[in-house]
């Protein structure tokens, strides 16, 4: 520790601290414009100049100067104030004083400091800049006339996002923050640059002229897209969520968000929201009262109580824990059916079956914090960045700041592979399980295995065929195995979701085997992190929202509906028509079912088939808890009143439950208490204890090696291997109702390799027809170097030309591609 004095205050800080850090620790505020706690010190703006007794004669920048023992620092003297005023005068010389129409007003560091330092005149005169404003993208407005050259946007884009959209271009007075060839911004649109911009040079276009910053009510909540569980602050006015407000102190991610989180909130106040119940009369869905709609549902469910096997319920993992709890009570106990499932059935099995078999728990043994503590990461699919972008930022930071080594095993290349030292092994499509089996075999062969329960069984199950099926050389496999096994702390990252039917229980077990076999379980910064797709995927697994007593899985429920054995089906928020495999089959099944209830925010493709549609609310209109991947339970807070007549799923399910003779749950807080007393690991939790940070639920792991048979699909001559997944800007099918994601990525596409595209004479943007045994679909072609030859990638979120028209739940679908 280093001791120093700042403004007469004694403070002790670590030897790596800067004067700025020390001042912060001492409670002394030093003004900054270019400094950001998440970024490397820059020392560009000179606002943080301070006086150091031992370095008299010049002023010292606090943000870049390391502390030394016995330093005596003064942060406010006449000379310092004069210097800071000069800095502000020089910045204001070029900065347009258009604060009345600037969205940053009120949240502008330059404006606030000008006010604080009373800079009401300027000794200098000069012309303002006359740069063209970049309106070429729908999300981020770049007004470089307002830019003060702090470089934060370029630094965050490089250091954390690793995209590198920005750079200083030109030199001297002509220098400005620009992009490649000074063209329009064309990036991931995560908006990190907007969040850190100290002035109004970078603005969120969807928020432009919507509200003054100080008029916004700011409500802390949790993002309702992917399973990462990023905390966000909603900017609310007049019962509308108008923006997300950046708070650098929020969550493990320090306020970092991706496109969906930052720009995808518009679904909350969308014009397309359902605001009244709908009931099918004479074949048409017509508006109805809640009483009428709920009576229909109650009657049908009451009738189903005598034949519970004919009733079934599907839910999305987007509901809160409390809602899922009541959902479980209603269907599993009050109605008495075990035909209850979520996430297409297969998309949670990595947790509910795989982790259960390998670790005895339905959760990952590792948590998000382990990523940066690891020495070696083994990421399954480069898609880990696309499915969970903020986890991607954690990986970026781990690799670039902590020297974490990164190995990717994937069926295609991705952005993570461009990180320094990152290695990507592109294996045959669908060979993930085979690859992990081969890695286990290699670990054993190299004598790097530790003893663990089930070792003999595992040894007996491994075969040399696995290594061959991967398409990788024996040397590559041996090198990956050796690197993983010999690293003190090594972590496997495995994203799961409805777009990844191959990421099932088997793959989770195979990955778990490698972690267990190399002794990586039970250590910090090591193990296996299974990343659920939805905001509450982990909660749905914890609360047991899947068949546990021989009931039907989601896929079997669809089959049952088609065959007529399922007569009553309640769907809460799930959109099987678009997100379940084999669209034609799902549509037929939903048409065949006697009574279909859909509770959703929107009249989705699935809701359009319902007999009763119940309008429910978004995460912004309700309170409760979500459990994110890595088992962090977090508070969701109500920001606005429900739109129209919409009610929360909690209220709907609770009303139904009591109408059918079950308990009536009045307050979600009471239900959380019940969850705490009945769900393993949640014991002792209260919503008050969750505070702003949330609580990571502890787990007791009993690791066991299990034999997993790899079923790698054999390549088919003349056919392409279609792999589905998530697009960077989307999550599930809900992000389609967020304007932000839809601006950037409005349609599905089929991604082809440059070689294949050339052979097929297909150019970017051409329409290609993909035909499988299940059907055919026409999509826009995207051509690039990401996918290898013979592979086609398509995201699954879209209702138009949905890729599930041609998939049937297999990890890889073989298709022909034509024009």
């Amino acid at each position: 520790m280093v001791n120093l004095t700042i403004d007469e205050k004694q403070v002790s800080v670590g030897k790596d601290a800067t004067i700025y850090d020390a001042a912060k620790a001492a409670g002394v505020k030093i003004p900054i414009l270019c400094h950001d706690k998440k970024l490397h010190p820059f020392g560009g703006c000179r606002m943080c100049l301070v006086e150091v007794e031992q370095m008299k004669g010049r002023l010292i920048p606090a943000c870049t100067t390391p502390v030394t023992e016995g330093m005596i620092v003064r942060t406010v003297t006449d000379e310092i104030v004069k210097a800071r005023k000069l800095v502000l005068e020089l910045l204001l010389l070029k900065h347009p004083i258009d604060c009345p129409v600037c969205d940053a007003a009120g949240d502008c560091d330059l404006q606030n400091l000008t006010y604080e330092y009373k800079v009401n005149t300027n000794r200098f005169v000069d012309e303002k800049f006359n740069h063209a404003i970049d309106y070429d993208n729908p999300l981020i407005e770049r007004d470089m006339n307002r830019c003060i050259h702090c470089g934060k946007c370029a630094r965050i884009c490089d250091e954390i996002v690793s995209y590198g959209a920005y750079t200083f271009i030109n030199r001297g007075i002509e220098a400005k923050m620009g992009t490649e060839f000074d063209g329009p911004l064309n990036c991931e649109f995560c908006g990190s640059c907007v969040s850190v911009c100290p002035v109004g040079a970078l603005n969120s276009r969807p928020f432009k002229f919507k509200a003054r910053w100080w008029a916004l009510n700011k409500v802390k909540s949790v993002c309702s897209y992917c399973g990462t569980g990023c905390q966000l602050t909603l900017g609310v006015k007049d019962n509308k969520v108008l923006t997300t407000v950046y708070d650098e102190n929020q969550g493990f991610h320090n306020g970092q968000l991706c496109t969906r989180g930052r720009f995808g909130y518009q679904f909350v106040n969308s014009d397309r929201r359902l605001t009244t119940p709908l009931v099918r009369k004479n074949g048409q869905l017509v508006e109805a009262t809640w009483e009428e709609a709920l009576k229909l549902v109650t009657d049908k469910l009451a009738a189903a109580k005598s034949a519970p096997a004919s009733a079934a319920a599907l839910t999305t993992a987007r509901l809160t824990n409390e809602e899922l709890f009541v959902f479980g009570k209603l269907f599993k106990e009050t109605v008495g059916t075990d035909n209850v499932d979520h996430s297409a059935g297969y998309a949670h099995e990595a947790l509910t079956k795989g982790a259960k078999a390998s670790f005895g728990i339905t959760a990952s043994p590792s948590e998000i914090a382990d990523i940066q503590k690891a020495e070696q990461l083994l990421v399954v699919k480069s898609d880990a960045y696309e499915t969970h972008p903020v986890i991607g930022f954690e990986i970026n930071l781990g690799v670039k700041r902590k020297g974490v080594k990164l190995q990717i095993v994937s069926d295609k290349k991705g952005k993570l592979g461009k990180l320094p030292g990152a290695k990507t092994a592109v294996h045959a499509p669908g060979a993930e399980v085979a690859l992990f089996n081969a890695l286990c075999a290699s670990v054993i062969e190299q004598g790097l295995a530790v003893d663990a329960p089930g070792l003999a069984e595992l040894k007996g199950s491994l075969s040399a065929a696995d290594a061959q099926a991967t398409g990788l050389s024996a040397e590559e496999i041996a090198a990956i195995a050796k690197e993983f096994a010999t690293a003190e702390k090594a972590l496997i990252i495995l994203p799961i979701g409805q777009g990844y039917p191959g990421h099932d229980a088997n793959l989770a077990q195979a990955a778990a085997n490698l972690a267990i076999l190399t002794g990586k379980i039970g250590k910090e910064g090591a193990g296996l992190l299974i990343m659920g797709e939805k905001n509450n995927s982990q909660g749905a697994a914890d609360l047991g929202i899947y068949p546990q007593k021989g009931g039907l899985t989601a896929q079997q429920i669809i089959d049952g509906a088609a065959s007529g054995s399922i007569k009553t089906l309640y769907i809460a928020g799930e959109n099987p028509v678009v997100s379940y495999p084999n669209r034609a089959k799902v549509e037929k099944a939903l048409d065949a079912v006697d009574f279909l209830v859909v509770a959703d925010l929107f009249l989705t493709e699935t809701a359009a088939k319902a007999d009763v549609v119940l309008p429910v609310v978004s995460f912004a209109e309700k309170s409760g808890t979500f459990t994110s991947l890595g088992r962090r339970v977090q508070n969701v807070r109500q920001a606005i009143k429900p739109l129209g007549l919409a009610k929360s799923d909690f209220e709907v399910l609770s009303t139904l439950n009591s109408a059918l003779g079950g308990a009536r749950y009045a307050k979600q807080g009471d239900v959380f208490a019940e969850i705490a007393s009945s769900v393993a690991g949640y014991a002792g939790l209260t919503q008050a204890k969750l505070t702003d940070q949330g609580v990571v639920v502890p787990v007791t792991v009993s690791a066991k090696l299990t034999a997993v048979a790899a079923k790698t699909p054999a390549a088919q001559a003349g056919k392409f291997a279609l792999v589905t997944g998530s697009a960077l800007y989307h999550n599930g099918t809900m992000s389609r109702f967020g304007e932000g994601p839809m601006y950037v990525c409005p349609d599905g596409y089929a991604e082809l390799s440059t070689d294949d595209a050339a052979a097929l004479k297909v150019a970017e943007g051409d329409t290609v027809k993909l035909t499988s045994a299940t059907g055919s679909v026409s999509l826009k072609a995207k051509v690039g170097k990401r996918v290898p030859k013979g592979v086609v990638f398509a995201p699954y979120h879209f209702g138009e030309a949905s890729i599930n028209s041609i998939t049937d739940g297999a990890a890889v679908t073989f298709v022909t591609v034509g024009k």
């Binding site: 370029a154 490089d158 995209y163 590198g164 959209a165 920005y166 750079t167 200083f168 271009i169 030109n170 030199r171 001297g172 002509e174 620009g178 992009t179 490649e180 060839f181 000074d182 063209g183 329009p184 461009k418 320094p420």
Partner: protein
Amino acid sequence: MSNAPAEAVKAEETPEEVIDLTEANNIIDKYLTLPGNLMPVLQGIQEWYGYVPRPTIDLVAERLNVYPSQIYGVLTFYAQFHLKPRGRYIIRVCVGTACHVQGAERIVDTFFGRLGIGHAETTTDLRYTFEKVACLGACGMAPLAMVNDDTFGKMTVQKVDEIVERYNQAPMKPEQK
């Protein structure tokens, strides 16, 4: 203004270029393992192609794993890099004080007349780019002109004709090193 930054090419103005990337790849190969290799690679490319064509920027970005934006930042920071095609032969005439008093303006005007281009312009056949410069640092030889690395001191109007005649015969392709 002699310290004006290199001209910025707007994306939409970039002409459709068909660039043979073989030599760019060779240059990258040569420096691939050298730390801090971006500058020598860009200098090599500029030397070979006469400027830094856009396709080479994408190539360098991909092969050196540097953001294209950063490369563009470097290229626009240093006056030595050019993003538009330049002549094979760069004629620079000093108009600094010493050369000025020795009649540099007449030399400049003569070049303008012979080449049909003005300051900082390039002939359509890409043979010549003409530049007036502030000082070449050899005032004893005023008035001074340079063509690429060759220096011509004590310039006269007659010598302008000789120089243009000589470089009209010179090859358009740089010599392979």
